[in-house]
Point group: C2
Chain length 191, copies 2
């Protein structure tokens, strides 16, 4: 492997940590370069352009998060809706996950703003999460599994918005209230 490729990996590793800690607040080339411990000139030698730097770093983060989630809710095990929602909300409330969710919201907003390459990234991550949720969800037949999965993702992501706006405590309160929101619906008939 060339020095260039080695450096790419090191940079991506450092930058994903930096993004997780600092969000998308300071993502100019010079600031990213400083965080990665290289010169801005070299960043653009290792990567095509700024978009590629961010893509690579965010991709790595998304991968880490999938691993982290899989550890919390192991594959091959399925849960009824109410329990799944509760577990997912708990996991997403843990501190490393909170950082990721905050960053994740910023990525989505950048996608809304039409900035490259965020639209494609957020699209991929949503669908990734969707299949992830779907495979762990025990639902009666006749229910729109994809729809319910998306709704759960909306719920969990929405909690991240609450977190950002009014802080962790209110987020926790809302998360606890989910028990009431979803409590008996596992037995309900599909529409």
């Amino acid at each position: 492997m060339s020095i260039r490729d080695e450096q790419r990996e090191r940079v991506v590793e450092r930058l994903s940590a930096h993004l997780l800690a600092n969000g998308l607040a300071q993502v100019s080339l010079r600031q990213l370069a400083a965080a990665a411990g290289v010169s801005d000139r070299m960043l653009l030698y290792y990567f095509e352009d700024k978009a590629e730097v961010l893509s690579a770093s965010l991709e790595r983060l998304a991968g880490q998060m999938i691993v982290s989630l899989a550890r919390a809710l192991p594959d091959g095990q399925v849960f009824p809706l109410a329990e799944f929602v509760q577990r997912a909300a708990d996991v997403a409330g843990r501190s490393e996950m909170r950082s990721f969710m905050r960053l994740w919201v910023e990525v989505i907003a950048a996608a809304a703003r039409g900035e490259m390459p965020f639209a494609e990234i957020s699209n991929q991550i949503i669908f990734g999460f969707q299949t992830w949720v779907e495979s762990r969800l025990d639902l009666p037949d006749g229910v729109d599994r994809a729809g319910v999965s998306l709704a759960i993702i909306a719920l969990i992501d929405g909690l991240a918005l609450i977190d950002i706006c009014v802080g962790e405590q209110h987020r926790g309160r809302a998360a606890r209230a989910l028990a009431f929101l979803t409590s008996a619906s596992g037995n309900a008939k599909p529409a």
Copy 2:
């Protein structure tokens, strides 16, 4: 009223429309000034600084949205949880509201990034919505009304994220699936 004050109003009116249509993508002083039909020099004559321009415009938008919401779910009327969620999701899915929700997500992300004056704005709007929801929600005694309200807001805002990431159709699908998520919980016992 001085010319300056008149111009302030005109500018706020035009800019709120512009923000609703274009989001926070192009919000440099010069671009805002062009959208408002004045020179950037004059924008800073009418307003203290950029933050005040955005504050005033977003405040106006938030007011409009409250009015719009109140029309859809009139005051003095209360709904059981499942029905309220369904109605709220429907309203938020209508096109003017969708624009607002998209903008709203961008505001929250700016708050996450620590940009002024977004943190305070988003905080205010969340609590405004919370009391708005709370006053229209028919819940059994013993339930954390504030918590449930926040959870509902999370849900509705989360749908906006879905909208941004994967489009209106998937948002609609998730919204329809809410019926299943919340269907029987109105009768559940509080935790």
